[in-house]
């Protein structure tokens, strides 16, 4: 028996070549390309997912930071607004007081003036009434007195008596 295991037989070389190249072509088309593509796709998607997760984390941190900032700002603003409101209230109250006082004073002044006027007018009226009444009375009296000349002369004489020539 010859032991020529170190001697390749051309038949086997031929078939091996065919089998191997066939395997290479088939696997390349039906296995390696889709598998490697799928692996690459998955790797990219994982990488993307990780990157976007990182980005979301950053965004979250940024947002919460922003929120805090906003809250702080809002608090400060609220405080200012409250303070302002209080000041405004005080101002309004003071103003109102002052206004009320001046208004009151003015009203009182006016009332006083009005009362004065009324008084004056009433006085004048009274004076007029009195004078006209006096005149009426005088006229009536005089009419009565002067109905007879004697009486008139007596009166005049009487009156003249009263008049003292000083």
């Amino acid at each position: 028996m010859s032991f020529d295991i170190g001697n390749p037989s051309y038949g086997l070389v031929f078939w091996t070549l065919i089998a191997f190249l066939l395997l290479l072509v088939l696997l390349r088309k039906f296995a390696w390309k889709p598998i490697i593509q799928a692996l690459n796709e998955r790797e990219t998607s994982i990488e993307n997912a990780l990157a976007s997760a990182e980005k979301a984390k950053e965004e979250m941190a940024r947002l919460s930071n922003e929120n805090e900032q906003l809250l702080k700002q809002a608090r400060v603003e609220r405080d200012t607004i409250l303070k302002e409101a209080k000041e405004l209230k005080d101002q309004i109250v003071t103003d109102a007081k002052v206004q009320a006082q001046t208004e009151g004073a003015k009203l009182i002044e006016q009332a006083k003036k009005e009362i004065d006027d009324q008084k004056k007018r009433a006085m004048a009226e009274v004076k007029n009434q009195v004078s006209s009444l006096a005149i009426d009375i005088a006229r009536t009296v005089l009419q009565k007195e002067f109905e007879d000349n004697k009486k008139q002369e007596a009166l005049v004489a009487d009156l003249l008596k009263d008049v003292k020539l000083n």
Partner: protein, 361 residues
Amino acid sequence: MNFRHFFNSKKITFTAIFVVFAIFSTVRAANSISVDSAAVVAQGAHGEEKFNPTEIIMEHISDAHDWHIWGDLSLPLPIILYTDKGFEFFSSGQFHHGTHDYEGKHYTYRLVDKKKIWVVGANGEVDEAASGRVWDFSITKNVASMFLSVFILVLLFSSVARTYKKREGKAPKGFQSLIEPIILFVRDDIAKPNIGHKYARFMPLLLTIFFFIWFNNLLGLIPIFPGAANVTGNIATTLVLALVVLVVVNVNGNKYYWKHILMPDVPWWLYPIMIPVELVGVISKPFALMIRLFANITAGHIVILSLISLIFVFQSLAVAPISLAFVLFMNVLELLVAFLQAFIFTLLTSLFIGMAIEEHH
């Protein structure tokens, strides 16, 4: 390069593979004994022929025209001959294990030593001149086994590829998760570091080489019928693989690669020495690949078969436990070698490609 993380993280996967093949290994041991004892009994019946381990071992690791299944049962394989008068197709069963000559269309053929086909002349003697004109392209045991492995590999990996399409963007599942770490291993630890950024073009070749060698190594370790052929331990197979590597490396070699070979950076008067040395280097790299794979796998098979043959050499059952213990150990070792040789072949291939396409600035 640091591969430790790979071995660590994929420990479970490897354990699973080892367990599966440890089972096969025990089957192998048991089967080999029955086959060989059958042979011994047969020989004993024929006469006081001494047990010849060399013959048994060589028969096991050599190619054959039929696929031995069990005892005297074997699967006949098609014989394809190209003669100067045309093709001949017939079954190897026509030879009745070499005891009968077969009268074909053009010549009468005789099977000698189970693997060589000779033309028999009119006088009943082998006609050497006519035999020289007959080319044997038969589907031998190795070819059939290789076709089987090609079929299984295509089926397996196209189904995995389909799983990838079906489960797009999802985590791997089932067989896919067994294959994926290995594909990633070939990509990230073999191709990328050695080839560089142009690795993607060579991935199909590297993956095919890796899985072809690994799968055939493992098939060779299975002692029963669908395995048992010593495909990667046959120099024709490794020759073809090395030839593919040779062609791929040199076709892809850039101007720096060729300049290094044809115009090395040495004084011109050294060229007559340097250029032949460099040219030898071009051939010797794939040649080393061819010899390494062939020798490793064949040696493993020879050691295992020798250990089993010890039982028959000593003709004592007492040797069996020791022998089997060693065989078991060797089988486990061969499992490692099966992976290791596929890995080394792929690693060196990517290294050679990387050297050939490297850009110098």
